[in-house]
């Protein structure tokens, strides 16, 4: 190596509970470059950067800043070493002035005049100006982001880590940020950009790194890669061995059911705008029949979340019509907040599913029996009807939720990232449960399934649609079942 790296992480391993979030991840950022760190949701990007910034201690691996090995005990150490981080969700105090936010976290006497002077000096040097006296809550999102960067620069950051900076910006603001980042790096600074948006990364970066399932799978200069190569690395075409795939795709394709003529779920020209008036779904028309597993793919913010909730009846569309059965099973991504009450017993959590329309007296004896049946049928370990949900492991909780939502009489089942946070065995069993729900053909429910892991979707789905920018379109099955190009293109909207 001829050039010392501005930031180098090697052999990083980190475990959350049973899940290995990072396993032999590495990243080498050359000084004076914009380096994009790509990966799907849950690939470990943010974990790796939190380790780089001293917010997490790695279980194994080494860190070096400007060629010197370092060990951070907190982010204060990282700041002292010249790192700065701009989080996706800004760490700003809204009612306070910009200068007060910058001064926050400094030690000793609070000297706002000196802090404001340093802000002006940074503005003169880098062109990033924020009025020191402006109240943060009155600033635009782009200005708040600028303030976060100024905050890092005032503290002497030479290496900036930006977590999904594009997510909150308009295209024009993005272009401004890209221009500024290039200038910052031309002046000797270094930037690491965390994103899952391939095009945004390729537009600005000098080098690209890709994480997939906690491992580094690609590190290359920008000139050596195109978007197909990056998408392939992200979605795993480069990595063939996948547990979810074993026997999955082929098996399910073998018994593609004849969908009954009458669709169970039907969306017609559905458009959804959120509370701020942003269009989340645009003109979506979709049919799902019994015995089908509709796989939904899409990056964060593409409209997957909203589509699943409209199908499950948890969100009402702004315009358009929805036809769905009375009872739709829904397996939301955030299990502990949206699916179960941890402090309730499993029997109570089962009753929760009918709580909205139950009347009169609850038949706890029957509910306990039904709970026991779910626990047996879905192989929930260590569970009894009277045990608290909190006492189960995440995997067993999820198996319980899947079992509950599949209970008799459900005509449609919507699952959002149901394997998130589960170990491989629990994930496989959850996927198997979805598969055999659909395998019952015309007797089974219509299943809608989303996962950030394309392998999982392809292993379970009989049909795939992609969300991009609120639009939904079907991805025709490729002639070669191993060919992922069409899916990869659909994810970035270039199908």
């Amino acid at each position: 190596m001829t050039i010392a790296s501005a930031l180098a992480l090697a052999g990083i391993r980190h475990r959350f509970g049973h899940t290995l979030a990072l396993d032999d991840a590495h990243l080498t950022v050359a000084p004076g470059t914009v380096h994009a760190l790509l990966g799907e949701n849950g690939a470990g990007k943010s974990t790796l950067m939190r380790i780089a910034f001293g917010m997490l201690a790695p279980d194994a691996g080494t860190l070096a800043v400007q060629g010197r090995p370092v060990q951070f005990r907190s982010s204060a150490d990282a700041i002292a070493a010249g790192l700065g981080m701009v989080h996706q969700h800004f760490a700003l105090v809204g009612p306070m002035r910009a200068v007060e936010n910058v001064a926050l976290g400094s030690r000793g006497r609070l000297d706002l005049t000196a802090t404001a002077a340093r802000m002006r000096e940074v503005a003169a040097r880098t062109g990033l100006s924020v009025d020191p006296d402006a109240v943060v809550a009155t600033l635009s999102v782009a200005a708040q982001q600028r303030l976060e960067i100024v905050k890092a620069l005032v503290r002497g950051a030479r290496v900036l880590i930006l977590d999904e900076p594009g997510a909150v910006l308009t295209p024009d603001e993005r272009a401004d940020l890209d221009r500024w980042l290039r200038q910052f790096c031309a002046d000797g600074g270094t930037a690491v950009l965390i994103t899952h948006k391939v095009r945004e990364a390729l537009a600005v970066a000098d080098a690209i790194s890709v994480l997939r399932r906690g491992r580094s799978v690609l590190e290359a200069p920008r000139a050596d890669v195109d978007d197909d190569a990056v998408v392939a690395a992200m979605t795993g075409e480069a990595l063939r061995a996948s547990p979810a795939k074993a026997g999955g795709a082929a098996a399910i394709r073998g018994l593609v059911p004849t969908p009954s003529a009458e669709p169970v779920l039907a969306l017609d020209a559905v458009t959804l705008r959120d509370a701020r008036g942003v269009t989340r779904l645009r003109d979506v028309t979709l049919r799902v029949a019994r015995g089908e597993v509709l796989g939904v793919i899409g990056v964060e913010g593409a409209g997957v979340r909203e589509l699943l909730r409209v199908l499950a009846g948890r969100l009402a569309p702004t315009t358009g019509s929805v036809r769905r059965p009375l009872r739709v099973g829904f397996i939301p991504e955030d299990r502990l907040h949206d699916a179960i009450v941890p402090a309730f017993s499993l029997a109570e959590n089962l009753a929760l599913a009918d709580a909205g329309h139950a009347r009169g007296r609850l038949d706890w004896r029957g509910i306990r029996r039904a709970t026991a049946d779910v626990l047996t049928a879905h192989d929930v370990r260590n569970g009894t009807a009277d045990r608290l949900a909190a006492e189960l492991s995440g995997g067993n909780q999820q198996k319980f939720v899947v079992g509950r939502e599949r209970r008799v009489g459900v005509d449609a089942l919507v699952a959002e990232n149901p394997t998130r946070g589960l170990d491989l065995r629990a994930a496989a069993s959850v996927l198997a449960a979805l598969r055999d729900a659909a395998a019952r053909g015309a007797d089974g429910p219509a299943v809608v399934f989303h996962s950030t892991d394309l392998d999982e979707v392809l292993a379970v789905a009989t049909r795939v649609v992609a969300c991009f920018n609120g639009s939904v379109r079907e991805v025709p099955p490729p002639t070669d079942p191993e060919d992922r190009t069409a899916y990869a293109r659909a994810l970035v909207g270039t199908l």
Partner: protein, 316 residues
């Protein structure tokens, strides 16, 4: 030692102490404890039982004074009903403020307590003052408005029986009815209740507000009908606040509230006797009680955190 003996004697030392002091003081605490508990079970922090009690008391007194010649069999149920409605109306203001404007009920209910106290002060000096216009209180109720005693020669009255009935009813409702389960589900996890169960969280919360206020209103009716037989300014020595401790110590379980309400009633009765007979200020008892409540709550908090840690997700 002498003080403790006086405390015990004042609460349990004689049939009179138990039936006419301890249980009579436990009655409002029981009804108010239930009111607080049902709200807390839904995650609604109703601190306004005091005000809801005062409104219930004023409304029941108005009925008692206006219809003094009605038969007791009509008048007493009417006082219960009107007291409940007035209490519910008062908590309904807080419910409306929360649902429409997102005002935190901790703030609104505590403010409404002061408004209620001021309203009672005004009533007993204005429209409801006794005819001689000397004392800040209403006229005494006619006999028909006196709530029946439960035991011969003891002051224990109908209100306690209502409280026991309400405790059993509320327990059954929370544990065995669909509507009660919705209340617990909203308190246990509002997002899960809405997402997994399709529960209308806003409506559930509003209804709990009304139920809680109604129970507190009945407590007010019970005080004027069973104890004071007139509307006074200092009707409640802060029962509505003590009730929060009653409910929390019982872990919000209506069956245990029966026990904790009697416990606090005994302390209240005993503290008065202790001050009288052993010259120990009754605030000593209040200090000890406060420390006990804090210790119990802290222990429970630690337990809950342990549980939460075990439930911590494996994801980042």
């Amino acid at each position: 030692m002498e003080a403790l003996a006086a405390l015990w004697d004042g609460a349990f030392g004689s049939p009179f102490a138990f039936w006419s002091a301890t249980l009579v003081r436990a009655t409002p605490l029981l009804l108010l404890g239930l009111a607080v508990a049902v709200a807390f079970r839904a995650g609604v922090l109703n601190i306004g039982a005091e005000g809801q009690l005062l409104l219930g008391a004023a409304a029941a007194a108005a009925v008692a004074l206006a219809f003094g010649d009605a038969p007791r069999l009509v008048l007493v149920p009417a006082m219960v009903l009107v007291g409940a409605l007035a209490g519910a109306a008062w908590s309904g203001i807080a419910a409306l403020l929360r649902r429409r404007y997102g005002v935190l009920e901790v703030i609104s209910t505590i403010m409404l307590n002061f408004v209620a106290a001021a309203m009672v002060s005004w009533l007993v000096r204005g429209p409801m003052q006794e005819p001689t216009r000397v004392y800040p209180q209403s006229s005494s109720f006619a006999d028909a408005a006196h709530w029946p005693f439960l035991l011969n020669g003891q002051r224990l009255h109908l209100g306690f029986a209502l409280g026991v009935l309400a405790a059993w009813g509320l327990w059954w409702w929370l544990e065995h009815s669909a509507a009660g389960f919705r209340v617990r589900a909203v308190g246990g996890g509002a997002r899960a209740a809405a997402s997994a169960g399709g529960v209308d969280v806003g409506r559930t919360i509003s209804r709990v507000f009304l139920l809680s206020g109604a129970l507190a209103g009945v407590a007010g009716a019970s005080e004027v009908g069973g104890v004071t037989w007139a509307l006074y300014e200092g009707l409640s020595p802060g029962y509505g606040y003590t009730a929060i401790a009653v409910a929390l110590l019982a872990r919000l379980d209506p069956r245990w509230i029966l026990v904790t309400a009697v416990f606090f009633g005994a302390l209240d009765a005993g503290a008065a006797a202790m001050q009288r007979d052993a010259q120990v200020p009754s605030v000593v008892v209040q200090i000890v009680v406060a420390l006990v409540v804090l210790a119990v709550l802290a222990a429970r908090y630690v337990h809950a955190r342990r549980l939460a840690q075990r439930a911590a997700p494996e994801t980042a």
